[in-house]
């Protein structure tokens, strides 16, 4: 199992990738800097892991399994996490 991370619109272009898959067990960040946890990370920790520990920009929106989430929402193995800029539809 893995976590799928998606980026959309201008953020996708800034990050330079649209989708990343990561294995929870291979989190460098997870292994080196945090107390051992076997089953979850927060959305904020996922961002830090995939974006080289850069701070999560304040305007960026987040979703877990296609529903809006917060930075401290916990992510399980198999989940889909998404990051995207403010929406501009309609």
């Amino acid at each position: 199992m893995a976590i799928t991370i998606k980026f959309f619109a201008s953020l996708r272009e800034q990050v330079g990738k649209s989708e990343v898959q990561i294995e929870l067990s291979r989190f460098k960040f997870f292994k080196e800097k945090l107390k051992p946890r076997t089953d979850s990370l927060t959305v904020g920790e996922v961002w830090a892991q995939v974006c080289d520990n850069s701070p999560l920009p304040i305007h960026i929106l987040m979703a877990v399994n296609k529903e809006y989430s917060k930075q401290d929402t916990r992510v399980q193995d198999g989940d889909e996490v998404a990051f995207f800029p403010p929406v501009t539809g309609g």
């Binding site: 929406v87 501009t88 539809g89």
Partner: protein, 140 residues
């Protein structure tokens, strides 16, 4: 209740006519409020040649369905319809159609306004405009 995301040009008035005919008993509703958003050929002082509309497949549909259900619970309305374009769009083409059917005008108006306001502020769509000197995302 209908939610549709489409990459094809659509005519909002034909969609309304079709939906009304097939789904709602005539004589049961007294008020229909609609909003149609159309692509302009100008924005923020610039001429816009085309637009690309990105969405988050799966999440966008889910969000609009939840939104429609919320409107149907909060207001005394019978039906909702949302159609939204994605992909390449040219000036003059319809981007979004929102409609509500109700017994009376106040809930029809309020629910319609709620749907388009929430859609614009929360539904995962992103516009990129093509100007004469390049493209720009509107989320900046």
């Amino acid at each position: 209740m209908k939610v549709e995301i489409t990459s094809k040009i659509f005519n909002p008035w034909e969609e309304l006519q079709t939906y009304e005919k097939t789904l709602i008993a005539q004589g049961k509703y007294g008020a229909v409020a609609t909003f149609v958003g159309t692509m302009r050929d100008y924005n923020e002082g610039d001429i816009v040649q085309a637009m690309f509309l990105e969405h988050y497949p799966g999440m966008t549909e889910k969000y609009l369905q939840t939104l429609s259900e919320t409107a149907l619970q909060r207001w005394d309305i019978f039906e909702t319809l949302i159609i939204h374009r994605i992909g390449e769009i040219k000036p003059g083409e319809t981007i979004v159609l929102v409609a509500t059917w109700a017994g009376h005008r106040v809930p029809a108006f309020e629910a319609c306004r709620f749907l388009i306001d929430e859609l614009k502020s929360r539904a995962p769509f992103w516009k990129q405009e093509t100007l004469s000197n390049g493209v720009r995302w509107l989320d900046q």
